[in-house]
């Protein structure tokens, strides 16, 4: 576990500074140092919305008008994207990431050789949102009138609505790029606090308006898609302005946080006080606390800090029946089924999470990346299994297969000195020639250790010793760190791919240890076979990594992408292949989802996943809590 130095405030300050630099290392965004972390109250009444949010948004990433900083038809910040410069070299623009402004020399070759893509063939894209393509809003006038009187800001501008009509599934982004816009919310409201939400939900019930909660918009389960059959007015409830830390309780190491806060803000603000939650899902730049709760999110450092269900101490949720919350903050209770578990994973079907008490930890004193190269994937998995058996997993341990290793390699930025590239050459020579690793089979595990320095080093040795038993060779901090950078830029890469007729996505599952190798092999092979059967003209990229370890199994993450030139309906083909891949996952003992959730994308398999009785239990909760289906996003059930 992370070290504890909470007594000494100066050392804590130091830790905080270190931690900040680490996060900044990931994100390289100037940290606002003076954002106050105070117990604040919602002052919804009396002040004008504009002024209030202006104050609120200071130091926060996400403004009400997302379009100010984010792409409307792709991932992330408008200023950050991959492109091929005039020399035909790949480059990552902007200043936000470590990779920003760098040349990535290997990417072009990789893209061309992996997918058969060519820079000559660029796919057309709709450059700006055409408001004409957007259906005029169906407004419930009575609702709008009453809402106006509460002073909660709202909008029915086309751009605001389109931004909240989708997550980041391939088909959603593909449609946006083509300029196709289907059913979208009729208006967007920005509550500022719990009480605002209570009012909105009351009004929605009163006027029979459909509410769809919106947090960070990073869903990959079609959860944010508006059901096309919905005839009521659909209101997107954007929690992004509920982004304060209400209090920090240092005695119990907990913090009360509003649900709209996004991961990077939460960590940054806590860091300023010397704390962290340690919850770092790959989407943490944009995903929100409420979204994590609603989907049962998982963070990459869960081995130390736990997944979201381990982190929450208290949840407050507004439902059509009223507010649900526990009366105390006891660390564990035996009071019948845990009502938190009706909320965790409810995917916006029952209500809006407004406030959460989370466990916090002092920031770790020391952090160290690492990596291990294995001769093959089988050995790598055996090593991870042993690490899990001995319960000595580092904060994060991930095993990439050979294709993903090569992918990671292609993302290596241009090296500045001859000496580094010489060293790289030497390393490669050592591994492939001296140790006899086959470059087409070897795979790499990336590691992240956290804690106090001494323990980290000890821990590191323990893990490397285990790895050595499975033929693993330590391969340096750089390789490890690059592996984690990749997870932040991968979504940007998809946009680049789409510029060149390559579409793809990731999906995940969890599976018992004895099935890990089988599921990886079979799902990857199924993807290749399905692509072939469905007429995909080029061999697909089908790759996976073991991304989390547990006592009884692991989480496996698949990437799959192909060049769709020559296909008349690429998205349909894509969906068929993805469907087949999920069938294969289930047939091989994998779960329907480890942390992405079900949404509408994977709904059809819910019954076989949780049994008919299980479905009935969930349905009866829904029927009681929300009899009129106010929270009508139709996820899950």
């Amino acid at each position: 576990m992370a070290s504890n130095s909470s007594g000494d405030s100066s050392s804590r300050h130091q830790t905080a500074r270190h931690r900040l630099s680490v996060i900044a290392g990931h994100l390289q965004r100037p940290a606002d140092s003076n954002a106050a972390v105070l117990a604040v109250e919602c002052k919804a009444q009396g002040t004008t919305p504009n002024v209030r949010t202006g104050v609120r948004s200071e130091g926060r990433t996400v403004p009400r008008r997302r379009q100010e900083i984010m792409k409307w038809n792709g991932w992330g910040y408008s200023d950050s994207r991959f492109l091929f410069n005039k020399k035909g070299q790949a480059e990552f623009t902007g200043k936000r990431y470590r990779l920003s402004g760098m040349i990535i020399p290997g990417l072009k070759d990789w893209l061309e050789s992996t997918f058969g893509a060519s820079l000559q063939h660029k796919a057309p894209v709709t450059p700006i949102l055409n408001s004409g393509a957007v259906q005029p809003p169906t407004l419930n006038e009575a609702f709008v009138e009453e809402l106006r009187s509460t002073g909660v800001p709202f909008s029915h501008e086309a751009e605001d609505r389109v931004f909240r009509s989708h997550g980041h599934c391939l088909h959603e982004i593909f449609a946006l790029r083509e300029g196709k816009i289907g059913r979208i919310p009729d208006m967007v409201v920005w509550p500022n606090c719990h009480n605002d939400v209570v009012k909105i939900v009351e009004l929605a019930c009163k006027h029979n308006v459909c509410l769809i909660p919106y947090g960070g918009g990073t869903s990959v389960s079609s959860a944010l898609e508006c059901p096309p059959e919905e005839s009521r007015s659909i209101v997107s409830l954007d929690t992004s302005q509920m982004n304060r830390i209400l209090w920090i309780d240092e005695k119990n190491l907990t913090a009360r946080v509003e649900s709209g806060i996004v991961g990077q803000d939460l960590e940054r603000l806590l860091n300023e006080s010397g704390y962290c939650t340690g919850h770092e899902p790959d989407s943490m730049e944009f995903s929100s606390l409420g979204g994590w709760v609603a989907t049962r999110a998982s963070g990459m450092k869960k081995n130390i800090y736990g997944n979201i269900e381990d982190l929450v101490v208290h949840i407050k949720m507004v439902t059509p029946r009223g507010v649900i919350e526990k009366s105390c903050q006891g660390p564990r209770m035996s009071t019948g089924p845990d009502i938190h578990h009706f909320i965790l994973g409810s995917e916006g079907t029952l209500g809006v999470v407004t406030e959460v008490t989370l466990k916090i930890r002092p920031m770790p004193e020391y952090q160290k990346y690492g990596s291990v190269v294995f001769p093959n994937f089988e050995q790598g998995v055996a090593c991870l299994r042993e690490v899990a058996r001995q319960r000595c997993a580092p904060a994060s341990i991930r095993l990439m297969d050979n294709e993903q290793f090569k992918f990671g390699h292609a993302l290596k930025p241009q090296v500045s000195s001859i000496f580094t590239s010489f060293l790289d050459g030497l390393k490669k020579f050592y591994i492939t020639k001296f140790k006899g690793f086959d470059p087409n089979h070897l795979c790499v595990a990336t590691l992240l250790f956290e804690g106090d320095r001494e323990k980290v080093l000890q821990h590191e040795k323990q893990v490397y010793d285990i790895a050595a038993k499975f033929g693993g060779l330590a391969a340096g901090e750089d390789n490890g760190q690059r592996g984690y950078i990749m997870t932040f830029v991968i979504a940007y890469l998809r946009d680049l791919g789409m510029d060149y007729y390559v579409i793809g996505e990731s999906f995940e599952t969890s599976v018992p240890w004895d099935r890990v190798l089988d599921i990886c092999r079979n799902v990857k092979a199924r993807i290749v076979r399905e692509c072939k059967d469905k007429g995909v003209q080029f061999p697909p990229l089908s790759t996976c990594r073991v991304t989390q370890t547990y006592d009884a199994g692991a989480c496996v993450y698949f990437y799959f992408a192909f060049n769709y030139r020559g296909l008349s309906d690429p998205v349909h083909v894509y969906e068929q292949v993805e469907h087949a891949a999920r069938e294969e996952v289930l047939a091989n003992g994998g779960s329907l989802s480890h942390h992405h959730g079900v949404g509408k994308l994977r709904k059809e398999w819910m019954r076989e996943t949780v049994s008919t009785v299980g479905m009935g239990m969930l349905q009866s909760v829904k029927d009681y809590v929300d009899p009129n289906n106010i929270f009508g996003n139709r996820n899950l059930l």
Partner: protein
């Protein structure tokens, strides 16, 4: 045979079949020694983890499944796990192959010498070989050859070696181990030996199944076994055995491999080496124990002409596509996969159905020689009582007619169209001189003084009528084994023809009922996929309508004028079986006393049938075949007309439901309408 033999088939059923190449041709032209010593570098499975056969044994002994069973047996018997492990190791020792390239090379050399003397050609479809080569690289491969001769598996390995393909490991019956040197040599050429029965022996099963699975999963080598379990003595395909198929499908069903390619291989012999040996075996002369010295005695074979062999490597069948939509693989999610479990009914049905499909695939690619048609015609003529045989011209005419009919039915007939039919017929007849002779322009079976001339081992001049009958039966059964090769082409139309013949009215539904009855009755005799009544009926209707024998509308089935000949032929082809089954029924009703066991059944029924044959009440000597008798009994057991009573003795006595057997006999004889309403309706 000097020129390249390339056969192409125009097929009205539009079954696309590959062309053949004679692989002996090259052998005749080049040095055998150089061939045996040539560089052998087969393409291997992409996921192969190379290992020696000794490492393989360790992998088996350390497998989770085996360790589990060892522990289980230890707990049950109180024996220490060490002892049981030693036992498992001994079993494995007895079982395991020791594939060695040098032995394979020796066989390659020796077999070439033998093959070149005995066979005119060995024809292989090279496209099939290419498909196989592809399949071997992609997925674990299971080779499923048909089994008509001891030659089969040597021939298979020989072909794979010649075409530079990975050599298979072959499941062989333990009886081969009796042949000391040969047994060990077979082992070194890739055979592994399994006991014929090990019903309740958990440990044996675990060792055996794990051994096969590990070889398959690792892509060590293609696994080869015979779906039919044993050599078919009748040349009809046998009801498939499911044990090994279960084992090789298991890794796929449990997700341990992505897919398994099942490759049906059809080996057809123009003349079977064991021809009369089989006939005698079926007549009750026991099978000689395999021995090395026996093999040498068999060397007289070398002086005879056995014509050609056709080996057709079928389209690889993906286990995955067989299971698609049929098996829910997630049923294995909730119990650790290494714990042995009896397969669920769903799986059993699936494996059974797959086995039938694969045997049908073997059947469909069996090359039929003209002689097969001639044998059918001669047997029918013989049964019709024409002791003088047939005029050669008449036989040729009929053969041409049958050739066209069988092609319409989709037979894979090798009838060289560039040679006049009369020549084709006389060529075929000359190859089978031991069974047929031509005198004064008439063709007849060599029934008179049969045993005396050609075959040693039989008493020379038959002294008693029984002995004479036996000698005649040897010839008839040998001929029947050729006719049987074509039965799979005719069986469905023949069942329909018999149903039409038996039906009093033309109503389609009624005819279907009779068809189903017959189909059900004979489902131990022929390869009829369980649950495919309607499909088979429709196929039969389609073929007979297409060949112009029947007209079928919504309600009725009508025989056309020119259809009578076809229907008569088809009915007669089934007739020996119908009468044979009736005989068995009659025997059970009339003769069975208390306490007849299964073991005693065959001799008793044989005696009964001999009596009827001698008295002239029965005209088909082939009913003497123990295969038919056993199949009939199996059918009656299956239908519940006979039951096995677990008695004090080790063998259960047979209890006959006389009423039911009687009514089955009458229904078969067309005296009673089909009684039981069948489940499937059209």
């Amino acid at each position: 045979m000097a020129s390249k033999v390339v056969y192409s088939h125009r097929d009205p059923m539009l079954k696309k079949r590959d062309d053949f190449e004679d692989m002996l041709e090259e052998r005749r032209a080049t040095s055998d020694l150089r061939y045996a010593l040539r560089c052998y570098t087969p393409a291997l499975y992409k996921g192969l983890t190379p290992c020696k056969s000794s490492e393989l044994k360790n992998m088996v002994l350390q497998s989770d499944q085996l360790l589990y069973v060892i522990n289980q047996v230890s707990k049950e018997t109180g024996t220490s796990t060490d002892e049981i492990e030693a036992e498992a190791s001994a079993i494995l020792e007895e079982m395991a192959h020791r594939l060695q390239l040098s032995t394979v090379r020796f066989f390659a050399f020796a077999l070439t010498k033998v093959f070149k003397t005995v066979f005119r050609s060995i024809c292989v479809n090279e496209e099939g070989i290419q498909r196989l080569q592809q399949a071997i690289q992609e997925h674990p491969v299971v080779l499923l050859p048909s089994h008509r001769s001891y030659m089969d598996f040597l021939l298979m390995s020989y072909i794979l070696y010649t075409y530079d393909l990975a050599l298979p490991v072959i499941a062989a019956g333990m009886d081969f181990m009796g042949m000391k040197i040969i047994g060990e040599m077979l082992r070194m050429s890739g055979a592994f030996f399994i006991r014929r029965s090990f019903g309740g022996d958990k440990l044996y099963w675990a060792v055996f199944s794990e051994y096969v699975k590990i070889m398959l999963k690792n892509g060590y080598a293609p696994v080869e076994f015979f779906l039919e379990g044993t050599r078919s003595r009748t040349a009809k395909s046998l009801t498939p055995k499911l044990g090994l198929l279960n084992i090789v499908l298991d890794p796929f069903l449990k997700g341990e491999v992505f897919d398994v390619s099942l490759v049906p291989v059809s080996i057809s012999y123009e003349r079977i080496l064991e021809e009369t040996l089989y006939a005698r075996e079926l007549l009750g002369v026991p099978k000689p124990k395999e021995s090395t010295s026996g093999l040498f005695k068999a060397r007289k074979i070398l002086s005879e002409d056995y014509g050609s062999i056709h080996v057709y490597f079928g389209q690889p069948v993906s286990a995955r596509s067989l299971a698609e939509g049929r098996v829910n693989r997630s049923q294995f999610n909730l119990i650790p996969r290494h714990i042995p479990r009896k397969p669920a009914e769903e799986i059993q049905d699936f494996v059974n159905d797959s086995a039938y499909r694969l045997v049908r695939a073997q059947e469909e690619n069996m090359v039929l020689k003209p002689w097969v048609l001639l044998a059918s015609l001669l047997l029918q003529n013989q049964a019709a009582g024409n002791k003088q045989g047939m005029q050669l011209e008449e036989l040729t005419d009929q053969a041409v007619w049958l050739r066209d009919l069988s092609r319409q039915f989709g037979a894979f007939l090798h009838w060289p169209d560039n040679i006049p039919p009369s020549k084709v017929v006389s060529c075929s007849l000359s190859l089978h001189q031991s069974l047929v002779r031509i005198s004064e322009g008439r063709v007849q079976l060599t029934l008179e003084q049969a045993g005396g001339r050609a075959e040693p081992g039989l008493p020379l001049p038959a002294v008693t009528p029984e002995e004479e009958l036996l000698n005649r039966a040897v010839i008839i059964l040998s001929c029947a084994s050729y006719r049987n090769q074509a039965l799979h082409v005719f069986i469905r139309p023949a069942l329909l023809a018999s149903a039409v013949h038996a039906a009093s009215v033309n109503r389609k539904q009624e005819i279907f009922n009779t068809f189903s009855f017959l189909r059900n009755m004979f489902s131990d005799e022929f390869i009829l996929r369980p649950g495919a009544e309607v499909q088979d009926f429709e196929e039969a209707c389609y073929l007979l309508v297409k060949s112009g024998a029947l007209q079928i509308n919504q309600q009725q089935v009508l025989v056309t004028d020119r259809g009578h000949r076809t229907l008569a032929f088809l009915t007669s082809i089934l007739d020996p079986f119908v009468q044979g089954y009736q005989m068995v029924c009659r025997f059970l009703c009339e003769e069975v006393a208390e306490g007849l066991t299964e073991k005693l059944f065959v001799p008793a029924v044989r005696k009964f049938i001999t009596k009827h044959l001698l008295s002239g009440r029965l005209k088909y000597a082939e009913v003497l075949s123990s295969d038919l008798q056993k199949n009939a009994l199996a059918a009656l057991l299956r239908l519940g007309a006979v039951q096995k009573v677990r008695g004090r003795g080790e063998q259960g006595a047979l209890k006959v439901n006389t009423v039911m057997v009687n009514s089955l006999e009458d229904t078969l004889g067309g005296k009673l309408p089909t009684q039981k309403p069948v489940v499937a309706r059209l």
